[in-house]
Symmetry: C2
Subunit: 257 residues, 2 copies
DNA sequence: AGTCTTATTATACGTATGTATAATACTCAA
DNA sequence: TTGAGTATTATACATACGTATAATAAGACT
């Protein structure tokens, strides 16, 4: 009780000093902080979280780091979000929408034709702002969380379903125009994997190959698809009934080296 | 001083009790723990770390969790490794070697012929033990660390260089046999990306497509490569000098839908 | 059986985390 | 200008982390 009184007294002194300084500040018209609408502040915190995930990874992204990145006090995070986990999930949703937005911008600039749209999609995938190691950093943490967190897993499912659906729409448009008879779903899976793989590996280590080479490879795949060469052999084989084991080739000659 | 004496006395009692229980145990011939060679214990801890990374992610993988997973006390981790960071790095090296080992096993069973080896490589990539969501979980944490940790980045560079080099060897073997004149390096990049993308996306969400479909797609790519259709158009165009912008197609007709 | 080495455990310490609560002060409306 | 509402800060707290140190005991060798 004694110590508490002393502390209260000390606190009172501090309050007086602070009030004095505050008065000084008022004359300077310099508020200690500025208010903001919840919606705006939430977006700022989400963007700060994305930057932190890119730079410091998931375990380096703490309440205090995010708050510092956003230039606010740590307590504000809990005021606008249910918790750290909620913030991460919201950042996933936001990042997904940002990517979607960047793609839409690139696609509206291209002619409204399936192949042109697909080509524009490829070019956009391998240039800024999509070809960004920081974006990969954010995406990697989400992929990690997908494996354990049901909520993140659900978000992932939706984001990727939309992604593949769009590619499949373009591919079926091309297939229709070129009068191709092939499994468009399988083609979309293959092309998605190719794009993702190129994007992933370039962002992981940009010194391995250039963005232009990635574009060349992707466009070449589209060429092959247009030429009706995708899964041509599988079609020639007809409906193969063996679903258990993958095909094994007949060895033309033993010992090559 | 008083409290300390008391505590010392209490500790003495505990020691007596422990000794008594220990004596009891001795009669039962049941040691409190078993010793092990450092090399063996290190491997146990590394494997425990891999399991933890797969199940709980990087931030869920702590000294205490790993120790519990390995069935030892937390202190033992620091006795065998310089620290948590060291343990993670060693786990990366070990995992890389395990993958290498699994691939070698699959390849030695296949005929010693470039195409057969490549086909076996594909099949092995999309079946156990390589097609494992847990393995992806481990790999994702390493990819995340690659972006910030120089040591992990170096390990990554070596692992991936070996990986691509092996694929390129097979591809150039096939190219030589089929008398193809193409950019083998670019082909290896494309095929690596396709395999990685398929592997990544299947492990992230196995419900999207089956391992057999992944195999079909990959084998189809090899078919296309064998037929000399890889980058055929780029070759037909000759040496294109424009390196700045990716190619943009000529639109056959405006408005498709 | 006794002794030595060291693998292993036990315990403690400082720090950083997420969350909770109270105090503060900015902004708008009256 | 004053008052109310609440965005924002400040502070506190329990917990979990990585690491350091000392104590313990298992196993091998004489």
């Amino acid at each position: 009780m004694g110590p508490k009184l002393v502390r209260t007294w000390a606190q009172s002194v501090l309050v007086l000093v602070r009030d004095y300084l505050g008065t000084q500040r008022v004359t300077d018209k310099e508020p200690k902080f500025t208010r903001d609408l919840p919606e705006s502040r939430r977006r700022q915190l989400i963007e700060a979280t994305a930057r932190s995930l890119a730079r410091h990874g998931l375990d380096g992204t703490t309440v205090r780091v995010v708050a510092a990145e956003a230039g606010v006090s740590p307590g504000l995070v809990r005021h606008h979000f249910a918790g750290m986990h909620d913030l991460i999930a919201e950042t996933y949703r936001w990042t997904g929408k940002e990517v979607e937005k960047a793609l839409r911008a690139a696609l509206t600039a291209a002619p409204d034709h399936p192949e042109a749209q697909l080509r524009a999609f490829v070019d956009a995938s391998f240039s800024a702002p999509l070809l960004d190691p920081d974006l990969l950093g954010v995406w990697l943490t989400f992929w990690s969380l997908t494996r354990t967190d049901p909520e993140i897993h659900a978000i992932h499912g939706k984001v990727y379903a939309d992604y593949r659906k769009r590619l499949q729409r373009y591919l079926s448009g091309i297939a229709e125009h070129e009068k191709l008879d092939l499994d468009v779903r399988l083609a979309a899976l293959a092309f998605t994997a190719l794009l993702d793989g190129l994007w992933l590996e370039h962002c992981l280590d940009p010194s391995t190959f250039t963005a232009i080479e990635a574009c060349q490879i992707a466009h070449d795949w589209v060429d092959t698809f247009k030429a009706g060469r995708f899964m041509a052999r599988a079609k020639a084989d007809g409906a193969r009934a063996d679903g258990a084991k993958p095909q094994m080739i007949a060895v033309p000659e033993a010992k090559a080296g």
